[in-house]
């Protein structure tokens, strides 16, 4: 077994995860728009059609409610579908299937029917794809009981979360950030699995907690570096799982730092950051020594123009300013 660290992109990690699933489980197949001949709109499934054939790599019509529904039906009949939705914006068309069927059937059947579907979708802004391809809607899905919502932020999580998602008998949504696909990192071949139940501390600090996920993680790590230069020690928590939320990890961090900045690329109103804020107020009020601060996207459709898009999304300087304002007010 190869034990030397391997360098790969997030995109390649996603691809290897899918390939491994197809190789290890004959019930597993991929379906979605352009996943076959085109290789996926983010090239995640490139080459899989040639290797596995059209039965297992299925191009679908542009009809999210149809093919997501078909995936749910396949899961109900015992298959292990991996459904790809080009961007989470388009998943709105399949919301009825995801929420009213995938998320509820196990409950409504008294546990007689499980829906072991995995739905992958691209999320987030930063690649100048304009409003209809750039939004972060994972916070909405995290609202829905019956779903598991994952947000891999590292190459390692991208490589291993899919297997854990497929092993879960219930529907799991995987949100892959479009900016992260090109991120490259060494991964440890000794790590062959990750859990999909817990958040991870990505950096230890004592003055302020930066709570984040997805593509905001590298921004928070960069902010933590900048803050360290100012003598402010930031604890960075990668949520990884937005539902069920590992609030214990958040509280554990805030109980050490007593200050919290939540960084979320979703819109602030009604976002996952709003949920975390509320949980802190409910369950950890007396750990707080400062108001909770949130760095979120501007509440506008994400603009196309590069400077405007940048201005609308959380940036490192915003995170640094928020953290600094809590630690050294005034």
């Amino acid at each position: 077994m190869n034990t030397t660290p391997m360098k790969m992109t997030y995109r390649e990690a996603c691809r290897q995860a899918i390939r491994e699933a197809l190789l290890s489980d004959p019930r597993c197949f991929v379906m979605g728009e352009d996943v076959g001949k085109y290789g996926g709109c983010y090239a995640v499934t490139k080459g899989l059609l040639e290797e596995f054939g059209p039965d297992r790599i299925r191009d679908t019509p542009l009809a999210e409610n149809g093919f997501v529904g078909a995936g749910i039906g396949a899961a109900l009949t015992g298959l292990r579908p991996i459904v790809e939705i080009m961007t989470c914006n388009f998943s709105m068309l399949a919301l009825d299937q995801i929420m009213n069927n995938a998320a509820t059937l196990s409950h409504m059947s008294g546990g007689q029917f499980a829906v072991p579907v995995v739905i992958r979708m691209a999320t987030g802004g930063g690649r100048q794809l304009a409003a209809q391809h750039s939004h972060s809607l994972e916070g909405w899905y995290a609202h829905i009981p019956g779903l598991k919502v994952l947000a891999p932020a590292t190459v390692e999580d991208a490589r291993h979360m899919l297997a854990a998602a497929l092993a879960d008998p219930n529907p799991v949504l995987l949100f892959e950030h479009v900016v992260l696909y090109n991120a490259e990192d060494e991964i440890d071949p000794a790590v062959t699995a990750v859990d999909i139940a817990h958040a991870r501390r990505r950096r230890a600090g004592s003055d302020v907690s930066l709570i984040t996920y997805g593509n905001s993680l590298p921004k928070c790590l960069a902010a933590a570096d900048a803050l360290a230069g100012e003598g402010i020690s930031a604890d960075v928590i990668d949520l990884r799982v937005l539902r069920p939320l590992d609030i214990a990890a958040v509280i554990e961090s805030v109980a050490r730092t007593h200050r919290c900045v939540i960084v979320d690329e979703g819109w602030k109103s009604g976002s996952i950051s709003a949920e975390i804020s509320a949980r802190l107020a409910e369950d950890a009020l007396h750990e707080l020594d400062a108001p909770v601060r949130r760095v979120c996207s501007r509440e506008v459709p994400v603009p196309y123009a590069a400077q405007m898009e940048e201005a609308s999304l959380p940036q490192v300087s915003d995170i640094v300013a928020a953290a600094r304002g809590l630690v050294n007010p005034g």
Partner: protein
């Protein structure tokens, strides 16, 4: 309508408790009247009002209230009675009524309401002090009132760090505060020796931590003073006799007129000269502890007046009946160890004052007069002063002025 507030009876006081009202609503008061007995760690203090008018409402007895809390409202003479501003009033907590309130003969229907303590800065939009939840919880555990603390956090919020700072200076030991607060207090019986020691510890620790002291020392020929004193006392009955301490007190007060830079307070990064010379006279209490109440305008009082003031002050300090102004007014402290003390004392400044003058025991010493060695009574005088406010040159001038004054006791 003017507010009568819980006074700060010293740098180390954070809360006090009204244990007795000496006035009732409708009473006329004038500035300087003693209106309440407030229990602090220095014992029960007679608190004066500095407003003229008619007492309107009184705060409840036996509640710990922070410095600055509204104790009463005073309606200026001639002003119509007006209802108190609504926001300030808090309905008195139901519970066992104070026997003292009943003993005062007040009708239950006009029982004095408790006033909400108006917290010092900053107050949120709801009128509640800005205290972080963590700080509030920590303060509760430490027995501190976080609403009374200055805040350094976001929007002036009181934070854990502010509470920690306050706890380091607080007169109460953390593990003792809740029990002490719950214990039935013994009123007006003087003071609690443990609390007194803690208060001294807090004030003196702060002094040594914050104030860069410099020290000067000098020996003064006390011959002229003691000869004059002996002559004065010889002709008078015991009750009119003077103690040497009075001469030291008056000489110091006079000398301060020449060096006003040592008579005042160092606050907010700057020295502020006092308008009068109110000498805080250090008095050791039976059972331990120390207070230094003010002798007001000591430079202008006659020796007999000072003697009377000193006797009265010592007696009241030891029975725990000092007035609030006596504890808050001193502009400098003098400590005289007297006949049984050491030859020299190097004092610790009581913040925010900037100087303390110490006199040792008068001892016969070889002393050179006109080239001849003689035996003379000699007293050592020291000055400990705040180097942020003055330098040694100035301090030397004060000691020289004290010496000069003591050479002409008849002029004191």
């Amino acid at each position: 309508m003017a507010d009568f507030l819980m006074p700060s009876l010293g740098a180390d006081m954070e809360t006090g408790k009204v244990v007795q009202w000496l006035v009732k609503p409708g009473d006329r008061v004038k500035s300087g009247d003693v209106v309440a007995v407030v229990e602090t760690h220095k014992g029960a203090i007679d608190v004066e009002v500095f407003l003229d008018g008619v007492i309107d409402q009184l705060a409840a007895l036996d509640q710990d209230m922070p410095v600055g809390a509204v104790l009463a409202q005073v309606r200026p003479q001639g002003a119509p009675g007006a209802p108190a501003p609504a926001g300030r009033l808090v309905t008195q907590r139901p519970g066992p009524t104070s026997p003292r309130a009943d003993a005062g003969g007040r009708d239950a229907a006009v029982a004095p309401p408790a006033f909400a303590a108006p917290p010092p800065p900053p107050v949120g939009p709801t009128g509640r002090a800005r205290v972080s939840p963590a700080a509030r919880q920590r303060a509760r555990a430490l027995g501190l009132n976080p609403d009374a603390l200055p805040g350094s956090g976001v929007g002036g919020m009181v934070t854990l760090a502010d509470v920690a700072r306050a706890a380091a200076q607080a007169p109460f030991a953390p593990d003792q505060a809740p029990g002490a607060a719950a214990a039935p207090h013994t009123r007006a019986s003087g003071f609690d020796a443990v609390q007194m020691r803690q208060a001294i510890a807090a004030a003196m620790s702060r002094s040594k931590r914050e104030i860069p002291h410099y020290y000067l020392s000098d020996n003064i020929d006390f011959m002229a003073a003691s000869d004059w004193l002996e002559a004065w006392n010889r002709e008078r009955p015991p009750e009119q006799r003077l103690l040497g301490a009075v001469l030291l007190l008056k000489a110091t007060a006079r000398a301060l007129r020449e060096v006003p830079q040592l008579n005042g307070f160092y606050e907010n990064g700057a020295f502020r000269a006092a308008t009068g010379i109110h000498v805080g006279w250090a008095i050791a209490l039976r059972g331990g502890g120390l207070v230094a109440p003010a002798i007001h305008d000591a430079d202008r009082a006659s020796l007999t007046e000072l003697m009377a003031a000193l006797s009265d002050l010592v007696q009241r300090a030891r029975s725990g009946r000092l007035r609030s102004s006596e504890l808050t007014d001193p502009t400098i402290t003098v400590t005289s160890l007297g006949e049984r003390g050491a030859q020299s004392v190097l004092g610790v400044i009581y913040p925010p004052q900037v100087a303390i003058v110490g006199f040792g025991r008068v001892v016969p010493c070889p002393w050179v007069v006109d080239g001849q060695v003689q035996v003379r009574p000699v007293v050592n005088v020291t000055l400990a002063a705040d180097h942020r406010a003055s330098d040694g040159h100035l301090g030397g001038r004060l000691l020289a002025a004290i010496e000069r004054a003591l050479q002409s006791p008849q002029d004191l």
